[in-house]
């Protein structure tokens, strides 16, 4: 009896999440500008880094193609940057009263957040795939099989998804979309730029190398490189662990804060 009620409430929560995901996806479909510009930005980064830094870096390491080095970094950067949209959309829903409506309904409250992060991760998937396509056009060559490519995509998206719970939490603590965007950059910029995304970590000063080598974005990018270009993949488990830890901390925190945010 107990377990069947639990099953029922679990199914209802899933149905609630489904309804919210659907709503958020409709927002993307009916407001294509959101997708267009959030795709153009990483494409621009890819082109800028490839053509502006590419020459200098290829000159330092003869024989290596910079795009092969760059694309995994850009994929991770794209995933992280796209999580900055999550708190903005959440705050908009709070401000416009959509969340008041949801909260007045006999639905799962956590579903509002889960529906937000799931829908955003779908958009993230779409944009990361676009980066793959553009990277290929710019000359990226896979050196591993399809399974490893899927695994590479999988860890980028898993880490990005986990990170979106962090930015969602940040959004509810800050509760202002302009401020949260700036605050989000304070997290995301050091993590992506002080990483192995654009230049080899060995070129950084020693003190920065310590940070850079041990932070998750570097580990993520190194794993993605290894999976797509061949190499040791032992850091994949570290990334999965990071993602699970971030979710274990920020999902409950986000849900708790959501209950208190008006």
């Amino acid at each position: 009896m107990e377990s069947s009620t639990m099953m029922k409430s679990f199914r209802m929560t899933l149905s609630d999440i489904g309804a919210i995901v659907r709503r958020n996806i409709m927002r993307f479909r009916r407001t294509p500008e959101i997708i267009v510009f959030s795709s153009i930005q990483p494409i621009m980064f890819l082109l800028l880094f490839n053509y502006v830094f590419g020459g200098a870096i290829s000159a330092a390491t003869p024989g290596a193609k910079y795009i092969n080095f760059l694309l995994p970094g850009i994929m991770a950067q794209t995933a992280l940057f796209s999580t900055l949209q999550t708190p903005i959309a959440l705050i908009e829903d709070l401000d416009k009263g959509a969340i008041d409506r949801f909260r007045s309904l006999p639905m799962s409250r956590a579903a509002v957040l889960a529906g937000r992060t799931f829908a955003d991760s779908m958009r993230m998937t779409f944009i990361v795939l676009i980066m793959l396509v553009f990277g290929t056009i710019l000359g990226f060559r896979y050196q591993a099989g399809g399974g490893k490519l899927m695994a590479a995509l999988g860890i980028v998206l898993l880490f990005g998804y986990a990170f979106s719970w962090l930015t969602a939490t940040l959004g509810m603590f800050i509760r202002n979309s302009e401020a949260v965007q700036t605050a989000g950059f304070l997290f995301v910029f050091p993590l992506t730029f002080a990483s192995s995304a654009f230049v080899p970590v060995d070129t950084m000063p020693n003190w920065l190398q310590v940070f850079s080598r041990n932070q998750p974005v570097t580990q993520l990018i190194n794993s993605v490189r290894s999976l797509m270009l061949g190499g040791p993949t032992d850091q994949v488990w570290i990334i999965i662990t990071w993602s699970l830890v971030i979710m274990a901390v920020f999902i409950p925190l986000a849900i708790w804060k959501f209950g208190k945010t008006v």
């Binding site: 309804a19 927002r27 009916r30 009263g97 409506r101 007045s104 309904l105 006999p106 008006v262």
Partner: protein, 326 residues
């Protein structure tokens, strides 16, 4: 004597935000099948009270029940009984009217077939059938309010909370919405609404609480409130040059404070027998050689009650443009 069934009961509810006493000990009771009006200026605490009733926020203290169920302890039970239509018409711009209602039906866990039926019925009833498949961003203000109201009706609630349902609407659209609101109550629902418009409270509500700074300052049926003032209002309008002289004459004749309307400049006093007072005033004005532009005697309106009990301090709404003067 049949005792009416109480649906909403609010007892000594308090909600403070730091030093701001949004709700400072509110008591009220709403009977089944009636419309209850919370009337007050911006910032009086009306919206806060609705948010407490709709389980969006918890009160700091006090007791709130809907159909005997405690809001604080059983919020999910409450959410199954209530519908909320908000001040800002919480309608998603990017969804069509039909999609909005279907989504809400799904969140109520209404089976799909039944959800479709309810959606069609509501769209028809709210005269939104023609616009059903257009995104709400193409809707007019009145259509958005109707859709918002529709969303609050999907779950077939017995109790409806409407937070300023007609604020910002043109007079015709407002009338249409009033009509709809009356219908909803005639079908047996219980409704609590907030408004800044005295006219609206007068037209719709069976019972009214006037709220100011988190407190109920006056409670009663519209008629009780009007007759609580007990006296007629005598209003006189004169040329600007005679304004001061007229003020003096009127306050000495009536032996009470005069009220001057900022905009129309009309001067009014209260009197038990309005007609007699008017004659007295006119006689004195004639003696002073002042010819009035306009004279009137009327029973107190809700405006008068409102101004009398809120101390004339809040004039946020254009309806409330009278100020007391010594």
């Amino acid at each position: 004597m049949d005792k009416k069934q109480t649906v909403i009961q609010v007892k000594n509810v308090k909600k403070y935000y730091g030093d701001v006493k949004a709700l400072d000990g509110i008591d009220l009771r709403v009977d089944k099948g009636t419309i209850y009006g919370l009337l007050g200026p911006n910032g009086a605490g009306k919206t806060t009270l609705v948010r407490v009733l709709a389980t969006l926020i918890e009160p700091d203290s006090g007791e709130v029940t809907v159909n005997g169920v405690d809001v604080k302890h059983h919020p999910t039970k409450i959410r199954r009984m209530i519908g909320l239509a908000g001040q800002f018409a919480a309608v998603d711009d990017f969804l069509t009217g039909r999609e909005t209602l279907m989504m809400v039906a799904r969140l109520y866990h209404v089976p799909k077939k039944e959800a479709k039926k309810r959606t069609d019925e509501l769209l028809r009833r709210l005269s939104l059938s023609d616009a059903a498949d257009r995104p709400a961003k193409t809707y007019s203000g009145g259509m958005r309010r109707r859709l918002d109201l529709g969303a609050s009706l999907v779950g077939k609630p017995e109790v409806l909370f409407l937070d300023e349902p007609t604020t910002g609407l043109d007079p015709r659209t407002r009338q249409e919405l009033w009509h709809l609101i009356r219908e909803l109550v005639d079908e047996g629902r219980t409704l609590l609404l907030t408004t800044q418009y005295l006219e609206e409270a007068d037209a719709l509500c069976d019972y009214i609480s006037i709220i100011d700074r988190g407190k109920v300052v006056k409670q009663g049926t519209t008629n009780e409130l009007k007759s609580s003032l007990g006296r007629d209002v005598v209003e006189v309008k004169v040329e600007d040059k005679n304004q001061d002289e007229t003020l003096k004459i009127m306050s000495s004749v009536a032996k009470c404070d005069t009220i001057v309307d900022d905009i129309t400049k009309s001067i009014s006093v209260r009197a038990a027998k309005g007609a007699d007072m008017l004659v007295k005033i006119v006689t004195q004005l004639e003696k002073a050689g002042i010819k009035p532009k306009d004279l009137s005697v009327h029973r107190p309106s809700l405006d008068d009650v409102f101004l009398a009990v809120t101390g004339n301090k809040s004039t946020s709404s254009s309806k409330l443009n009278k100020r007391g003067e010594k």
